[in-house]
């Protein structure tokens, strides 16, 4: 499996009056062609920043302070604005959270689709419309020819999200970054949209980075999971491993916090004590240690590096936790 996307030691800072604030701290992961990765974490963990940093669209006062992003072997984090613009919406597409806000309310969806096509390809109106109709059909919009001439407010939330996905698909991207694509939708529509993503990824062999706080959504859709906490990836591995046998105490807490079914009825849901630190006051050492049930002395002294973890079936993953440091003795 050749690498589609390699993110190496990506660091994003926000320049504030009080000094720099690190929103993304040395994030490293890789994505193979046609592979689906879930980026999971609480609000403010840096998931969306990571998504935007990949296509170099960090708004002021943020800036990429270090690291590289390689897309199909090309270092796109170093490209000039003009060149990266040809990649955005063409080879890498993005889908956002709120379908009510993402479409321009005063343009018909046909106009918006044709515009997107013509921004990246030299094609005529009728040809572009044909492609648009084709993509709308691919996301299961009924009678797409008629729908092309309608405005966003004439669609329901689920249909709008389908249209946004269709727009993202227009130029046959190799990678889609979906930033909480189902958060604003109700549960039945959520399932439909996730099924659609799965179907499209299998059909076209495009890669998917699914940014979400919903472990259930990721576990059904992606092959790999990266769990983020306070701007760092704390655990990474195959989806089933991470969900069934979480290694990092934070992931363990997240999984334990999910409602477990009938036997728990009437009892309180588990929760991780405390809240995620604000990025201005990240504790020294491991950023999770004040909330960690397994915290040791070393945790407050130095930050754990990424350590390999093994699973009984021979698979491997990564967890950034001193618990898995062989030099400290496995517990």
């Amino acid at each position: 499996m050749s690498a589609l996307l390699q993110v190496q030691d990506l660091t994003v800072n926000f320049a504030l009056r009080t000094g720099d604030l690190t929103a993304l701290n040395g994030v490293t992961f890789a994505l193979g062609e046609g592979e689906r990765l879930g980026l999971v974490g609480e609000s403010g963990a840096g998931k969306s920043v990571a998504g935007f940093a990949i296509i170099n669209l960090i708004g002021k006062p943020g800036y990429i302070a270090g690291g590289r992003v390689l897309f199909q072997g090309e270092e796109i984090s170093a490209l000039p604005e003009e060149a990266i613009r040809r990649i955005r919406g063409h080879r890498i597409s993005m889908v956002f959270q709120d379908p009510m806000m993402t479409l321009n309310p005063v343009l018909t969806i046909g106009t918006q689709m044709v515009e997107t096509l013509q921004a990246h390809r030299n094609i005529g109106q009728s040809e572009a419309e044909a492609i648009a109709v084709d993509k709308l059909r691919q996301v299961h919009i009924p009678s797409p020819e008629k729908r092309l001439h309608q405005y966003p407010h004439e669609f329901s939330g689920g249909m709008r999200q389908r249209i946004i996905i269709a727009i993202a698909l227009l130029n046959d991207p190799q990678l889609i970054i979906a930033d909480e694509p189902t958060t604003a939708l109700d549960v039945t529509i959520q399932a439909e949209i996730m099924d659609l993503f799965l179907e499209l990824c299998r059909q076209t062999r495009m890669g998917l980075i699914l940014i979400t706080h919903d472990l259930a959504v990721v576990s059904e859709t992606t092959e790999k999971i990266a769990v983020m906490y306070a701007g760092e990836i704390v655990e990474e591995g195959r989806t089933e491993d991470v969900v069934r046998r979480p290694r990092h105490p934070y992931t363990q807490g997240l999984i334990a916090a999910l409602p477990q079914g009938d036997d728990q009825r009437g009892t309180r849901l588990n929760q991780i004590p405390g809240t995620m630190p604000t990025l201005t006051r990240i504790p020294p050492g491991c950023s999770f240690h004040p909330r960690c049930p397994h915290a040791m002395d070393v945790c407050s002294e130095r930050a754990p590096g990424p350590l390999p973890v093994a699973y009984p079936d021979g698979g491997g993953g990564m967890a950034a936790c001193h618990l898995y440091d062989p030099n400290l003795g496995d517990r």
């Binding site: 613009r85 955005r88 597409s93 993402t102 343009l107 997107t116 921004a119």
Partner: protein, 306 residues
Amino acid sequence: MTDRWQRFKKSALFHDFKGDKVAIVSFATLVLLFICAFSAPLIAPYNPYDSANIDIMSSEIPPVWMAGGTNDYLLGTDAQGRDLLSTMIYGMRISIIIGICAVALQAVIGIIIGLIAGYYGGKLDGFFMRLADVQLSFSYLMVAIFVSAVLQAAVGVGRFAEIAVPFLIIVIGLAQWPQYARTVRASVLAEKKKEYVEAARVTGFGAHRIMWRHILPNCMSPILVLSTIQVANAVMSEAALSFLGLGMPVTRPSLGSLINAGFEYIFSGSWWITAFPGVLLVILVLAVNLLGDFLRDALNPKLYKG
């Protein structure tokens, strides 16, 4: 075209319009006035620009229903013996042309500057908005008096009459662009934070395309509302400048210069020379303003979400 009309008939704007008597009446009045003004040579009984029609002996004839009035001159004649009705119709045409062209000039300058200032922000924004503040701190009348004095001295009073129309358009247009720039900038600041702008950026569109094609159409309703008010203001400004003798010459009077010309005769009993153009000006400006009020209410996003 028919498709568009059908869609318009179904729109909320048209629905509101149908239910608003004031809007209907002011719209009808405006349409009537515009038709009159732009078919002036067809419907006006006399051509006030043609000196062959003007007889100084028939000056200051009162309107037809007063003692001494004749059927030839429905609303009487002015001090130079011109038929007042015809002169008013021609004058209204000049007023409307100046009003609309001046607003178009304001809009072009204001929208460009407002978009750039709002979208790019930072130093550019600061520079343009301070420029707008400086511009607004001058009274446009003062600027107009100064410029026209220089211009009249430079080209002579005779030539000045010829360039009076473009002069007025430019003076009124340049004086009021900050209104547009501020309105557009405010809307751009609100719009550019919305997700569809982010989405456009992610799609790889350039700044120009995002500004003109995505943000500007979403700022149209405040611009539309402002435009109606600005047309009324521009017509009033033109009338004020002409009243002060800085605008249209008496040989090609606008409504303002007609009011000015008649003002001198008001105490000699010829009140109609000032009164009728004045009433027409009030009706014109009122109709535009009422229509603007209606648009403001109908397009207000807080009252109605489209």
